[in-house]
């Protein structure tokens, strides 16, 4: 599934549709295909507790693999939770892009992944 830009301006007045869930789950599948999260929700579906737990688990695996220390969101269905989920997803994507970029570039001093701030890493030729 293609990457879709996350929505990070959720408010408590908003409603989560099946398209939103497909984006959220699909983006994590994009970053971690082995997560195999459900990303084909329809209006007939409910978001199940097990599916949400799988999402949070996949986010945690991704963060650990990128040496990121992140607070994984909880189970409360609030705008805060969804902003956290999608902001973290965006950060993971940014981090993964950087790592992929570094893998194809000449890495200055060979330690480009040591900073959490992408701008601090020096990458040549990209």
């Amino acid at each position: 599934m293609a990457w879709i830009e996350p929505k990070t301006d959720w408010t408590d007045a908003d409603h989560v549709t099946y398209q939103d869930m497909n984006r959220i789950m699909g983006n994590i599948n994009y970053l971690l295909p082995s997560a195999d999260l459900k990303d084909d929700y329809t209006q007939n579906d409910f978001v199940k507790a097990a599916e949400w737990a799988a999402l949070l688990s996949a986010m945690s695996i991704l963060a650990q693999s990128m040496l990121l220390s992140l607070q994984v969101p909880g189970n409360e269905m609030t705008s805060s939770t969804f902003n956290d989920v999608e902001s973290i997803t965006a950060l993971l994507k940014e981090r993964q892009d950087l790592i992929f970029a570094q893998e194809v570039a000449t890495i200055y001093a060979g330690d480009g992944w040591r900073s959490a701030e992408p701008a601090e890493n020096y990458v040549r030729g990209i």
Partner: protein, 576 residues
Amino acid sequence: MSRIDIENAKRIRTPFEVYAGFASRTETDLTFTATTVAAADSDIDTSLDGDGWAMRNLTDLQGGGFSLDGTAKLYDPTLTASSDNGKVGIRTNIGAGVDISINAAAQIAAVTIAIAKGQGTITANGTNYAIRRLVVIPVNSTSINISFANSLPGERIEISSITPGIVLDFNASNIINCTLGLRSDLSFKPTWQVSDIEIQAYYPDDLSEAISNVGDYAPIWYYAGYPEDYSPIRYFYLSEPAQMENGIITLKGEDASSLLEAKNNISQVIASKAGNGRATLYNRFLKFITDAGVKLINQESAPANTSGTTDYTLIIEEVSSRDAVADIMNLAHNGSFWPTYVDAGIPTAYHTKPQPKWDIYEADCGDVVRVVDRNIGKIATDNEEGLHSNVTRSTTLQTLEAFDIVYNQVYSLSPEGWWWYLAVTKGKNILATADSIMWTATTGTGTRQVNVNGQIVEQKVDQSIVTGKACILTVENQAIVETNKRPGTTLEVDPIARGKIYGGTTKLYPNYAYLFDRSNITGSLKTKGDPRWQPRDIFNFHRLDGTVEQCTMQDITLVHEGGGTYADITYRKGIC
């Protein structure tokens, strides 16, 4: 100011929203089998006929999806229904229906299906019913198959409960007439008055057979008001068989105080001291009510004790709770101590003197009638134990009678006078009152030979010996006259209580002198009505001449009819 007060202040107020309903749920256990649905409780046999649990707001993606206000919960198919978790019920696929087979542990007259969401048709036994919030399906069997057809392609049908019995709810759209008779008796010789409700409402399905078999005491509830400002819910209980004729259901119910009549209390001696008299009388007053089966919704706690140590004794003869409660309210209202029980669907007991709660303007009323009776000048009784009396408790244990007994036979004795301690030997299941004792013999009387001064004589053994300590009663007066010897009528009464209870130096009960302070002015009026009013509520009556009288509501007939509301009130001047 509340919305109801704001509307009442208008010359033409917005019509009340009136809600009433009826629940005749039986305890028969139901089991369910449903065709494929989108979501259901894992313990559906428990959850679906448990109508006390709220529906869980799930992360449902139908329509516009679920809200992020924090109320939606992730759907966990393994989570069982409970009061904490709520329940899922049965939720169909969008646009789809469901078939449910219901089996009952015993034959049931009907089931009531509560639908949280959805539109369409229910079919059962070849009859179609439109899906509404509550749908009653006649069964008259131990099983039934029910099909739900969904008429909204993009939405689910959400079934929150299927319960055995009949549950109906009514509102302004189907209520033809709802009349409440909220009653008390503020006269000088009051009897307890039961309040009632009568509802006539349209109902689209024929329930005439199922509804006629509903037993007495099924609850009827009622409230009215405006969004976010409704009157407290009143509960009445079916007093006559429900009827359905020409599509109109008629329900008649009485408040819980009707139970007072059925409760007969044994004659009893109540010992108190000057310091605990108020609490003792109030607690006994509450016991007369609750022992009859009334569950008080609002209850003021008993007054605090003081240090007075003088002993007082009160005897109340064998009497129904109805008469005891009415008598205590009639003869103990004085000062700030005002033991009162009001039901009218909201069983409430308090002891603090009430203050005005409402304002009624004569200019807004119709049919205002004012009646001035002759004052009472004298209160008298022909009861030989007097109008008022003193009772002291003897500490001497007397032997009253010996009974030859047969094992397991029942015996009784009603000795002359009043007794605060009656006991018996060789007895079980002993019921001792203030003027009698009843027991079951635990052995049989026999004889034995004993040597008395060298002679063998025969003696009885294993008799039941009744002993007791007497209450010594002295008459204080047979009649009293008003302090200023005002002219007036003589009120003949028949006291149910002997002796007295004091609170400090105040004679609390029975005190017939308090009746001289009760106003002889009564009246009636017609007004807009308010669903919050209760009998015995105090109101400021703003007269046309500018004066304001404090009055006590006696009876309120509150009528919702044709979209409007009015009330007929009878009252007595003063705080009664």
